[in-house]
Symmetry: C2
Subunit: 276 residues, 2 copies
């Protein structure tokens, strides 16, 4: 136990809460940690709550009763979310991203931890009230996004592999059709990676027709698990919605068109604000 | 500009600093942000600094002069680092991790974002004073560790692929020999992913003879880039140090022996404290 002045206590409590998103912390934890009365702790929390909400950092939920306490729920405020999505769209529209075949180079953006963490916080905001047991993604490029989302929601990440590795133990494999190319692929998940009846949030970096994500959905049913939600960073709007295998998802940006000849990329905000 | 009371200002500054590790923030940013005198801001920072250092959260470095300001350097304190490594070793020693062939199942641990973030903070602590331009890892399992390290050091992550993808543009490929099996593999890095002369911190989840990491070192020389350091979560101590391709690295845990028959795994702390 350490006796701290209110000013130091506020700093300590702020960092304690920020490093424990979606953890229920009993008030007695703080009271005994700082040798302070519960009433003082409640006053401190009221100050922190107000700052977090004003800043768009997140919410502090207070649960009353014997099993009660306080929980920090990371949330991106509306203004910040709009700014983030606008900046993302602008970056994605840079013409030097166009690769042969009309593909888009995104690895520089996906390689920025702060950007991935912010996108993860957006998904954590959208799914804050959804009952979820774990986050799932398939290797490779969606991994940082999945971990960022998992960190903000205090949930583990389950990683689907393209092939079966010796370090995964016994595994379940399925074949799936990648919608845009109609080509056949395999994905594999370790038997012990996922409990039966888990509720799973699927996260990925890019979705075209949705074949890869549909593959993960099919894999889930092999584990008697179910989809709690789907979040993608960028969706391709070049697909007719009739062709899309999946209708219920959240996207941060929509790639509308890539004109390789005219060197123009058209990107719009995704359905984040309308679907959330 | 918003006028805040000192108590609210402390909360706001704490979350502002924590979300911007290794960023230099001029005092005038805070002064104009809160409409406060620089002297008040300095007092606030002194309070935050003391709490961070007492807690083992990190350091606040103050740089004087016109180009000066304050920088939050995330650091894991000695006591926390010891506790983290002890817990990691204990988890790695659980006998049900043994897979056919004497491999170790680690995906459940690698799937915990909070654990990866803490390990990343350990690497960020060890390399806080090293001049580094980016973090590099090869797919797949080292990715969360690399991003966690990158987030704490405010550095981008460069991802080496096993094969050449259409979404990466032109790329450089090399072959490398995986030391423990003497088998030949390929790794590939997009041309535009890495600037010439970059100083690179290599991060991975596991190192046996070091062939994979040596492969990344060889790849770096193709880009006229250099190794600034190497950090691995677990090293295998089953390799003679003579057989090891790489001598200069930091590890958090050492896998000493896997006895598949007796169902015993022996894990010791890595060289983190002796090498750092």
């Amino acid at each position: 136990m350490k006796k701290l002045k209110r000013s130091a206590r506020l700093v300590e409590m702020t960092q304690y809460l920020l490093s424990r998103p979606h953890h229920l912390i009993p008030l007695t934890t703080f009271a005994s940690r700082y040798g302070a009365a519960k009433s003082s702790i409640s006053e401190d929390l009221a100050i922190i709550k107000e700052v977090f909400e004003d800043e768009g950092t997140g919410e502090l939920q207070t649960l009353a009763g014997a099993a009660g306490g306080v929980k920090y729920i990371p949330k991106v405020g509306q203004a910040q979310a709009t700014q983030f999505i606008d900046e993302l769209c602008e970056k994605l529209s840079q013409p030097d991203r166009i690769l042969p075949g009309g593909y888009l180079y995104m690895s520089d953006l996906l390689g920025q931890p702060a950007l991935m963490n912010e996108a993860g916080k957006m998904f954590a905001t959208a799914f804050a009230e959804t009952e979820i047991d774990c986050i799932m993604t398939v290797e490779t490029k969606g991994i940082p996004l999945a971990y960022a989302t998992g960190a903000e929601l205090n949930l583990p990440v389950v990683l689907v592999r393209r092939d079966h590795k010796v370090t995964e133990g016994s595994a379940v494999s399925i074949n799936y059709v990648s919608g845009s190319h109609k080509s056949l692929h395999t994905m594999t998940l370790s038997r012990r990676a996922l409990k039966e009846k888990s509720r799973v949030l699927i996260v990925d970096d890019f979705m075209k027709a949705g074949g890869t994500i549909q593959g993960m959905v099919d894999l889930l049913s092999e584990f008697n698990a179910e989809v709690a939600g789907v979040g993608v960073l960028v969706e391709s709007g070049e697909v007719d919605s009739g062709e899309r295998l999946l209708q219920d998802y959240i996207s941060l940006a929509t790639l509308r068109a890539v004109d390789a000849k005219g060197k123009e990329i058209s990107v719009e905000p995704g359905n984040y604000f309308t679907q959330k």
